[in-house]
Structures are given as C-alpha cells and as structure tokens.
C-alpha cells in the first residue's frame, strides 16, 4: 500500500501542495485531478523523490519512503508530465540506459526492449535518435521505460499526452490489466473522460488542497452530476468559460 500523509510543499511562503493525504491499495488506480497549478505535478515529484516535501510523509508497505528512497525507487515506474529525455540517444539506447541503471540483466533487458518497441510500433525507429521522434513516440518510449523493470507502483503524469487513439486504447487496457494484477497506480491527468473510465477512485486538488477524494460513482452521486466533468466543474471552476471565450474573441478582433 502506498500512502501519503499530510504532504505539504512550500516555495518560500507559498504552498504548492498543502496537507494532501491519500492511499493507493494494490489493484487500485487513483485518478489525480486538478486544474493547472493546483499541485498535481508537485505531488508526483514528491512521490518520486525529485523534490523533498516541506512537511508530511510518504509510506510504502509501511516504510517511510523519504528515509528509504533507494529502496522505493526500485519499486516504482514513472512517466513524467513533460517528455524530458535524452533526445540524442536512440529509442533503444534510452531503454538500454534505463534498464542498465536499474541493474537489469542484459539478455532479459534486450528481449524486453525489442518486444516493447515492437508492441508500440517503434521497431523501425529503434536506431533513430529521439530528437526526430514525435511527441507520441517519445511518450511510448517513456511508458516502456517505466514498465521495463515490472514495478509494483506506477506513477503516471499525463501518460497519454500525444499518444494516438490506438496506442491510448492499448495503454488504457494495459493499465486496467496491471491493476487487476495488483499494481498500485497513480494516474495524474487533465483528461477527465479517460480518468472516469480507468480509475477506481479520484482525488481532486484545487488551490493546492484536496477538495474531493472518493470513488467516481460516489462523487457523481454526491454532487448529483452525470459525469466526472460536471463534478470537476462544480468543485474547481469559478469562472464562466463562455464569458472568457467571448472576451478572447473581442481581444482578437480588437
């Protein structure tokens, strides 16, 4: 079980994340939602150890992750929000780098790389530097890198960004299959339709704080809404979207 307790991150005196708590049990996919700047990526970075929380703790199988970073890093796979990767490497070289840094045996690693590149339709581009890859192709490489070492926890920050419909569908199904195998998945996204279909529970952040944390069905019932999008709008949107759009058009003509 992965548990975050009262996670807080402050930059100077400004809180990017404040008192966020959640639990992900084996087999659970937690949808992590919120508007831009609400603190989603900051939470993800705290979970992965890229930044230190100002307060709070993260527990994995009862152990404090902050004190056992190395141990925890062997158990999770991570897909970052932005496809930051070493684009001067080829897709295959990048996956080799990740696998070797994770200490994987060469023969197993090579077999996995070949198969994953093949499944993602990247075989023809495996020896091409990633600088010429499209965003979707880079995202496929990142997804492959996150899955290479068969992690128990998957931390995904906008994982479908740039993926084509087929790849997104395959990956959505894969996520559900992984959850069925008992993996713990944190799924941070803006795409509410996908979250609604994939996640068993959702957590909604607004202005750095948790404003909802429950199952999708229960949230819909509680807010008397027909979709997660409606729930989200009720909780975090305080401005009239059509009014903003009208103002935009006025500026364009202006």
């Amino acid at each position: 079980m992965l548990e975050a307790r009262n996670l807080t991150k402050r930059y100077s005196s400004i809180a990017a994340v404040e008192n966020v708590s959640f639990t992900i049990r084996p087999g659970q996919i937690l949808g992590y939602l919120g508007p831009n700047g609400s603190g989603k990526s900051t939470t993800v970075k705290m979970l992965t150890g890229l930044i230190e929380p100002s307060e709070g703790e993260i527990l994995y199988r009862g152990k404090n992750v902050l004190k056992n970073r190395l141990w925890f890093s062997r158990h999770f796979g991570y897909v970052p929000e932005e496809p930051h990767l070493y684009t001067h490497l080829t897709g295959r070289e990048y996956l080799q780098l990740v696998g070797r840094l994770r200490g994987m045996e060469k023969s197993i690693l090579e077999r996995k790389i070949e198969t994953m590149l093949d499944l993602f339709g990247l075989t023809d581009f495996r020896d091409t530097q990633m600088s010429s890859y499209s965003k979707g192709m880079r995202q496929k490489v990142l997804l492959s890198a996150a899955l290479l070492h068969d992690p128990d926890v998957l931390i995904l920050d906008e994982p479908f960004s740039g993926l084509d419909v087929t790849a997104a569908l395959v990956f959505r199904t894969l996520l559900q299959a992984l959850a069925a195998e008992g993996k713990m998945i944190l799924y941070s996204s803006h795409v509410l339709e996908v979250v609604e279909k994939v996640c068993s529970e959702v957590l909604i952040l607004h202005r750095s704080r948790v404003v909802a944390n429950d199952s999708v069905a229960r949230l819909r019932d509680l807010r008397s809404s027909s979709s997660l999008e409606d729930v989200f709008s009720q909780l975090v949107m305080h401005e009239d979207a059509s009014a903003v759009a009208s103002q935009m058009i006025a500026v364009m003509r202006g």
Partner: protein
C-alpha cells in the same frame, strides 16, 4: 537621440530586418551563456576586445620601429614592415575563419529554422539569405573592428625616417587587403558548406559537415602559433616560392603591395589572383545558393528520417566488455554517446584538444629546429624541459577539456532519470569516468608523444618521461574523481553559475602553471637513472594509494535542481 534610436530599434520593421534581428540574437545563444544580460556583456566584451587590439599596436611596435629607424638599413626596415603586414593579414584570416567555423551551423537555416519560420509569411529565399548575411555581417564587423584601428595605428607607427609610403596610403591599403582576405575566408567556408550541402545525401551531410568543422577548427588552432611567429620572418619575407601561388595570405599581402604601387609583376599576379579568388567564392556562394535554396529546404523537409547504427560501435563494444556491471556500462555508454553527439560538448573538447595539439606541435617543431637533437640524445637544458612538457601539456588539455564538457549538462531537465535510478552509483560513476579519462586523455597524450620522446632522448630518459607523465596523469584523474560527485553531463553547470570567459581563462592558466612546475620537478628528478627510478617508485606508490580510497561524505551523487516553473493559467479555475 539615444531614445529615438532605442524606439526605432524596438519598433517592428520589415520581414528581412526582423529575420536578421532574430538570427543575430540566435548567433550568440548558447547554454554556456547565462542570461540576456550576460549575453550582451559577452558580445560587447568580445567586440571591444577585438577593437582594442588596434590600440595595443603602437605599444607593441613603437620601440621596434624607432630602433630600426635609427639604423641605416632601410631594407631591414622594409622587410620588418612586410613581415608585420603579413602577420596582420594571416591573423585576420585565422580569426575570421575561427569565428565562422565556431558558428558553422549558423551559416544556413536548419530544420528548426524552417519549422518555425516557414509557416510565417516569409519567402524561402528570405529565410535562407537572411541567415547567411547575418553571419557574414558579423564577420565583416569583426574585420572592420580589427582592421581599421590596427591599420591606422600601424601606419602611424611605421611613418618614421625610413617610411616607405605616406600614412594616408598605408592605412587604406592595409584595410582593403584585410577586407579582401576576410571576404575570401568567409565565403570560401560558406561555399565549402554549400557544396557539401548540395552534393552529399542529407544523412551523410550532417556527419561530413561536423567532421569538416572539427578539422578546420584544429587546423586553425594549430596554425596560430606559426602565425604568431610571422613578425620574425624578416629573413624570408621577400622570397616568393612556387607554393605562394597557392597561399591565400600571400595573395592578400600582394594586394596591399599593389595598392601602394610597390608590386612587381609576380606580386601583381598574386594580387589579381587574390581579388579574383575573393570574387569567385563570393559569386559562387551566391549563385549556388540562388539555384539551390529551394531544393535545400525541400530536402530538409522531405528527407525520410534515417536510422543508423552508432558510429561508436567498436568503442561501445569495447566499453561494454571492460565495464564491471550494467550500471557502469550504462553511465559509460551514456557519456561516450553524449560526448560524440552533442555539438557543444564536441566543440569544447575540440578547442581544448586543438590548443593542446598546437602547443605540442609548436614545441616539438621548436625542439627539432634548435638542432639540439642533431648532437645526439637531449640530456639537459631548456630543450629537455620542453620535451618533458609535451605529454603533460597534451594530457592536461585533453583532460581539462573532458572535465569541462562533463560539467555541462546535455539536458538538465532529463536528469530525473539518473536521480531516480542511480542516485547511489558512486562506484560505477567513478569507474566509468576513470575509463573515459584514461581512454580519451591519458592514452592519446602518451601515444601521441611517446615516439617523439623516445626518439630525441636517451631510452631511459624517454621511458622515465612517459612513466612520469602517466603517473602524474593518474594522480590528477584520481583527485578529480574523488572531488566530484556528479554523473557526467547530467548536472552541475547551471546557467549563471560561472562566466564562460572566466572559466576558460582559469582553466588554461592552471594548465600552464601546473605544466611548468611539474616539468621543472620532472627535470630535477630525471637527472640520473637512480633518481629517476626513485621518483617513479614514489609516484607509483602515490598512484596506488589514491586508487582504492573513497572519501565521499554522502552516499549519494549530487544533482542540481531547477526551480519549479511558475504555472500561469487562463484563470478558468478562478486563480
């Protein structure tokens, strides 16, 4: 007036002006430059430094010409002027060649330029020629800053008792000759790239272009010590050997002579050749560009992405076999591939290696020219010091070049991978980096200089010099490994931390000081075979002691963090 100029500069002008403005800004863009303010400072400092060279000329030459002017030898006076004029021409050519070679990729638009600019209402020819003319304009500005103050200062300095021509003639002649030489260099390099671009398949072009750039850079750096010696060429300056027909600096020196009306028929022929050559490369570049710029843009867009095996296949194969484990091989291969593929890092290594090679060649040739070697193996004196310094000097330049390149991240934001997967890879990092330092600094330095050392010194002296340099190199490598805790090319050189000029100056100064001190110590130790053996034993002991120690305070590697980006929203969430 200043406000009006500023307002004019900030206003929007036509597409060509805006394109030139865009390209001019990008000319100086580099990860090594920290901020727009720093960029402005570096550019102004460099241009001011170039311009101020002209004001150093009187200081450098006044005494010389005053002394020569007091003597009766008008011919010596004339030959001294000729040698100095040739020096100015050659240095201008080398300086401009270095500038254009450094910005080799800025001569013509690349894929990124077309991707950004093509959707805008601009013609392909505007995108193409604006880039070419921006670098050309910068080169001409540098020539002007270099030539005009130098020419006016020099003309006034040489207007002594044996004056050959009035200053008002000397100065424009020198400026025109320098401009012709500069134009020849700029457009010869542009033409070379145009020809490569049009004749080679695109996937070969990138590689060939990088190789040509590397060769040119090393050649330029190697030519500088030779050029610096030109003011001493009074003995042979009047000679016109057959090869002068193919020596562009002599063409433009002849242009200077022709403009002053002092050229004989051979000089006139060389001058015509020089003017024709400048005109031909200029016309050739423009004509080929006019004909091919559309095809060039089309090729860049339409060429299929080529897949290819790494050219480091053999090195990679070897690296995989000598690496101790998967993490070590991962770090080693990452560093090797990055050093090979990243232009900026390759350029840094090339500059350091080029300077090292140039100094070693200069020293080596100097040793041979002294004739000390003709009397048998070199045993003592300044020549012995010079020979001792060769492997150390080359090693230090290769080593510091690598060390500096390692500190510049390939992509700082991508280092999350290492932070997640290898924060504890202290030993693996150390072994991988050690292998690179040995393979790309120590062994090449020894391999390049050992035959020369063994040739000019007694065998025991040669072996001593090689062992001394090797062991000192090992000590430096181990010291560096112990005092750094970052994976190469992943972090540490955050923009704004250090000024690039300061860094370069400090590094090179340290290299010269260390080489001088160590060479002196080496010479003292190498007085006789017994003392030399003791020195080698002592150094071996130190190197052995330095190998197994790990005194890193923290068990984790260091990674610099970027500040979190500010998130600006449309305000739809009410923020």
């Amino acid at each position: 007036m200043r406000e009006r100029y500023k307002a004019w500069l900030e206003a929007t002008h036509g597409p060509l002006f805006e394109l030139h403005r865009h390209y001019a800004r990008r000319l100086f863009e580099s990860d090594l430059i920290t901020s727009p303010d720093d960029l402005r400072r570096v550019v102004i400092t460099c241009l001011a430094a170039v311009a101020s060279l002209g004001f150093i000329v009187p200081k450098l030459y006044y005494k010389k010409y005053e002394y020569l002017g007091l003597g009766p030898n008008v011919d010596l006076y004339r030959r001294a002027i000729y040698a100095d004029q040739l020096f100015f021409v050659v240095m201008t050519m080398l300086g401009i060649a270095a500038l254009v070679t450094f910005r080799w990729d800025s001569l013509f638009p690349n894929r990124e330029d077309y991707l950004i600019l093509r959707p805008l209402p601009l013609k392909l020819s505007q995108i193409y020629f604006a880039k070419l003319t921006t670098l050309t304009a910068l080169a001409l500005l540098v020539i002007a800053l270099l030539a005009i103050p130098c020419a006016s200062s020099f003309a006034s300095v040489i207007s002594g008792s044996h004056d050959l021509a009035p200053s008002w003639q000397e100065m424009p002649a020198q400026v025109v000759a320098t401009f012709c030489a500069g134009i020849f260099v700029v457009f010869a390099l542009a033409l070379l790239q145009t020809v490569l671009m049009n004749c080679l398949p695109l996937q070969w072009y990138a590689r060939a272009s990088a190789s040509v750039q590397s060769l040119l850079l090393v050649a330029i750096l190697c030519a500088i010590p030779w050029a610096v010696d030109l003011p001493n060429a009074v003995q042979w300056i009047d000679l016109r050997p057959a090869w002068s027909l193919y020596a562009p600096p002599l063409w433009y020196f002849a242009v200077y002579e022709k403009l002053l009306g002092r050229a004989d028929s051979y000089d006139s022929m060389l001058a015509v050749r020089g003017v024709l050559a400048a005109g031909c490369v200029l016309a050739g570049t423009i004509l080929i560009s006019l004909v091919s710029h559309r095809r060039y843009a089309r090729r860049i867009f339409e060429s299929a992405v080529q897949t290819r095996r790494s050219r480091l296949t053999l090195v990679e194969w070897f690296a995989e076999r000598i690496a101790h484990g998967s993490r070590e091989s991962a770090i080693l291969l990452f560093a090797l591939r990055s050093l090979d593929r990243m232009k900026q890092h390759r350029m840094i290594r090339l500059v350091y290696a080029g300077v090292g090679c140039a100094l070693v060649l200069e020293s080596g040739i100097g040793v041979l020219l002294t004739g000390a070697f003709n009397k048998g193996p070199i045993h003592h004196g300044a020549v012995l010091d010079a020979v001792f310094a060769l492997p150390l000097m080359l090693f230090f330049f290769l080593f510091t070049g690598l060390r500096y390149a390692f500190r510049i991240p390939v992509d700082l934001r991508a280092n999350w991978l290492f932070r997640l997967t290898a924060p504890d890879a202290i030993l693996e990092r150390r072994r991988a980096v050690r292998l690179i330092y040995i393979g790309f600094a120590l062994l090449p330095a020894l391999a390049a200089t050992a035959p020369f050392l063994l040739m000019v010194m007694a065998p025991w002296h040669g072996v001593y010099a090689i062992l001394f340099a090797g062991l000192i190199a090992v000590l430096f490598i181990e010291h560096e490994l112990e005092n750094s805790d970052t994976i190469p090319l992943t972090c540490s050189y955050l923009p704004g931390k250090r000024n690039i000029l300061h860094t370069g100056i400090i590094y090179w100064f340290v290299v010269f000081v260390i080489t001088t001190v160590l060479t002196a110590l080496e010479a003292i130790g190498g007085a006789n075979p017994v003392r030399a053996s003791l020195v080698i034993l002592f150094l071996t002991f130190l190197a052995w002691r330095s190998l197994p120690t790990i005194t890193v305070d923290t068990p984790q590697l260091r990674f610099d963090d970027l500040p979190e980006p500010a998130v600006a929203t449309l305000g739809l969430s009410g923020e």
